[in-house]
Every structure is written in C-alpha cells, then in structure tokens.
Symmetry: C2
Subunit: 166 residues, 2 copies
C-alpha cells in the first residue's frame, strides 16, 4: 500500500496543488477551464486574509492528493464549511487517501463549530456519491447550481446601463 | 406600483431580514429549518470580520426584500461572489424589486472583480429559473449539492474515533 501523511498545505505546495486541480478538470471533462496559476493560489491562500484553507496528502515526498475548503454562511443554520475540491491523483486511488483527506476536513469543520459541511458532486459520479452517502452526507438532487460567469457579469452590467439611459 | 429603494443592510434591519428568511423557508417547504436568531445575524453580519453582506429593499419604511451574499473561491477561476438568498416578500412581487436586488448584487460583484457570481435554485422553481436564464446565467443541472449536517458531523467524528481505537 505505501504510507502517506495528511498535513496543512504550504505556499510552496501550490504548484503541486495546481497539477491536481488540472487533473480533476480533465476528469470532469473541462480540460481548458483552469485559469488560475501558481502565484494566484499562493496569494489567495497565504495572504493576510486567506480565501481558502488546503490540506495535502504527501507520499514519498510527493503531493498525491488535496482538499480545499472555505467558509460559507447559511441563513438557516449559520456558519458552514464548504469543501470545494477533494482530489486524489488517479494512480494513488484506493489507498484510503480520499478517506483521510475527508477526515481532516470534517475534523477541521468540527473544531470550527460549523453547522454543516457542504460540497458538490457531478450526478454521474456514482462512486463518489456512494462514498459520500456512506459517510452520512445527504445528496440533494432537487437543487441546481446557477452561474453568471465573467462575460455574463459584463453583459449584465452593459444591459443594465442601456436600460437606464433608455 | 409604489416606489422602493435598494440599500446596504444595517444591523437594525436584521429582525426584518429574519422575517424574510422565514418566509422563504416556508415557500421552500422547510418551515422549521431556520435556527438563526436576530442576534446571530447581527453578530455574523456586522462584526469585525463579517460573514456576509446584505442588501435590503425598502418601501414605505418597510423592508420588503433582501439579498445576502458572501465570497467563495473557485480553484478554476479564483474569487467568486455567492448569492445565498434573494427574497422579495410575496405581497410585493412583480414590481421589479427582485430585479433591482439582483442588479445591486451583480454590480457589487463587478466592483469586487469576481470571476463568477453563483447561486442555487430549486429545480421545480421554473419562474426563478426563467428569470435567471433571461439574465444570462447558466443553470447547471448535472451537479448535486451534498450536505453533512451538524448531527452527521458528530456521527462522522464518533465513527472515526471508534475505528482509530479498533
């Protein structure tokens, strides 16, 4: 099996984290979606007001998995921890690394006293859904995600101004 | 029609905001889901590190609508603004209040320079879906939300400890 350890990510892990993020984008059939670079991750994760917290799984001095979380807020329950990505490099699957990363995330949320841990899953990723449900999570199939992307934001602003001056 | 104005929420708007949150929970068929109280919203929204930013719609000195947002982080795009709730009191619908609240949110996100504005919608709420799509947003039906609630977190921790000592 080989051993691994889970620890908080450091700034100099961000190149390895970006490789894992790209690997996940490939798996999710969006290979061109990653626009962040290493410097973005270093600035956003390790500045004075970090925008996320990351855990990495290390095996033989290599980063082979990661989990990235940040805070959200429920107007029903209060503070929430959101798991944005849980990634294990494909060649390192089935060794309990994903399990250990999820453990780290849930313990982190428990220590923060959050009312919920949330994340998102592709509805065709049945092995992930089975894994999460076995852990006691609830998969809510009646909610859809809505996204207004950067171009959509710019168009929205342009159209609003047009209406204002009409 | 009557006129209204959109402005940033103040701490003393939180009782009115909580009423709107409860009204939305009733609409979403979860009348008992709201566990927050007014003091929670005041502490979380107006402390040294606010967990959310809110806009309210005011008509005749009454709060008749609200939008609540906070930051998220995409490992593909970077900083994101998330719209947690967009609420217009039922008796005040169809006057453009929801439209104006969404304008305020998109302008706020544009000023922050976020790469995306995200939110969630119930898949049976077709009028909301139509409204959002007309605004240029994309409704992603192939993602499911996953939630580990407070009890689930406690169970998860308990089970992990049991396995550790086994």
């Amino acid at each position: 099996m080989g051993s691994f350890l889970i620890r908080d990510a450091r700034s100099n892990d961000m190149a390895a984290l970006l490789n894992l993020i790209q690997e996940l984008a490939d798996f999710e059939k969006e290979p061109d979606a990653v626009e962040l670079n290493v410097e973005d991750l270093q600035r956003d994760g390790f500045g004075q007001h970090p925008k996320f917290h990351a855990f990495v799984a290390e095996a033989n001095d290599n980063i082979v998995g990661a989990a990235l979380v940040y805070s959200r807020y429920s107007t029903w329950k209060g503070p929430i921890l959101h798991l944005e990505d849980l990634i294990v490099s494909e060649k390192m699957r089935s060794r309990g690394i994903g399990d250990s990363l999820l453990n780290a995330v849930v313990n982190y949320g428990y220590a923060l006293g959050v009312k919920r841990i949330s994340w998102e899953v592709l509805d065709w990723n049945q092995s992930a859904i089975d894994f999460y449900e076995k852990k006691g999570a609830r998969v809510m199939r009646d909610w859809d995600l809505v996204q207004l992307d950067e171009k959509g934001i710019a168009n929205f602003i342009k159209n609003t101004k047009k209406n204002d001056s009409a």
